[in-house]
């Protein structure tokens, strides 16, 4: 019996590990998607024909680490929007598990924080596993051909924007703009696990 349970737990663990390793890697080409935004419209990457790149950011309302980056995402859109790079925020959490992350609360939050980018809901939680997002916030920078160029953190200091030394994401966008590959192309940060049933 005990062996059976161990085997089961091991299988479960392998399952978890495999899930964690799936998703896009730098160099992969992302598939386009269509999700509902807080403006009530459906949004696809293909709608933004002139974009030179997309900052696909899995984020949410409730997570303290996501909240720390709200103002910085608005600032990034202000800085890089005019250059042709579009921030797209996607909430991957199940609102039944985390009512703070419901679509209605997304509308309220987007208004409060004056989001200047689409804030979309991953209804049915189908998109985040395709990307391989594991937490909020979790950023995927795509170029105009939807090739994944950078995955990870926005910068190196979540708690204090004034003490940031490395603007990983901004540097990665600047690299794209200069026709180069971002270095580093992957970083890590603390975040909230994506909430599922």
């Amino acid at each position: 019996m005990k062996n059976l349970i161990n085997t089961f737990l091991l299988a479960l663990l392998i399952g978890v590990t495999v899930t964690a390793q799936s998703g896009y890697k730098v160099g992969d080409t992302a598939a386009d998607f269509t999700l509902k935004g807080v403006d009530g419209n459906m949004h696809s990457l293909a709608d933004m024909k002139d974009a030179k790149g997309f900052v696909v950011t899995f984020t949410c309302n409730h997570c303290p680490y996501a909240i720390m980056y709200e103002d910085r995402l608005v600032a990034l859109q202000n800085e890089f929007g005019p250059k042709g790079y579009q921030v797209i925020a996607i909430n991957p959490n199940d609102p039944e598990v985390k009512p703070d992350d419901s679509f209605d609360n997304m509308i309220i939050r987007a208004e409060e924080k004056k989001f200047n980018f689409p804030y979309l809901i991953d209804e049915g939680q189908k998109l985040y596993p395709i990307f391989g997002a594991t937490k909020t916030p979790h950023v995927f920078l795509l170029d105009s051909k939807l090739e994944v160029k950078y995955i990870g953190a926005i910068d190196d200091n979540a708690r204090n924007a004034d003490e940031v030394e490395d603007r990983y994401l901004a540097n990665a966008i600047n690299a794209l703009e200069a026709g180069k590959n971002p270095d580093p192309s992957m970083t890590k940060a603390i975040g909230c696990s994506i909430k599922t049933k």
């Binding site: 937490k135 204090n160 940060a189 603390i190 696990s193």
Partner: protein, 162 residues
């Protein structure tokens, strides 16, 4: 004696103590204090959590129960809080008191997470909770939430019984 011990920790490892919680400004200081020179016969359970993390708070009772079950044996448990150090006295310590947390708790204040996440485990994405179970050269890493004391104990025993 306890005072002496706290001063000792502070002097040698650069951690700062508030109540029962030692604060480490740098990951390397915490690593040398609690994750190196481990006793080869002891099983260590190290859980990374925060008071703001729902799944972390939910699984804490299982860790507390495990600690109570094995506290007199070759077992040591450390809960590493990733809370904002500014909220240590207003939030973390009241939380520990209210929930009567008996496990050892430290707070890691190092905000440069990209520099230390891979040192905890290269497989770690950065989401919490995570749990490390260590004994001698053996090491197990779980980026997941445990759902019962039994589930956690079962994993701990894989190394404890070796």
């Amino acid at each position: 004696m306890k005072q002496f011990f706290l001063v000792y920790i502070f002097m040698f490892f650069g951690g700062l103590c508030f109540g029962q919680v030692t604060v480490y400004e740098k990951f390397d200081d915490m690593e040398s204090a609690i994750m190196t020179d481990l006793s080869p016969d002891t099983t260590y359970v190290i859980n990374f959590w925060a008071t703001w993390c729902g799944p972390c708070v939910k699984e804490l009772p299982y860790f507390e129960e495990l600690n109570a079950l094995y506290v007199d044996q070759a077992f040591k448990q450390i809960l590493v809080s990733l809370d904002d150090p500014k909220k240590l006295e207003s939030k973390v310590i009241p939380f520990l008191t209210k929930n009567k947390i008996q496990s050892k708790v430290v707070l890691l204040a190092d905000g440069k997470a990209n520099s230390w996440i891979d040192k905890v485990d290269p497989k770690w994405s950065g989401a919490i909770p995570i749990t490390l179970i260590l004994k001698g050269d053996e090491r197990k890493f779980y980026e997941q939430e445990f759902h019962s004391t039994f589930e956690l104990e079962e994993q701990m025993l894989l190394l404890f019984n070796k």
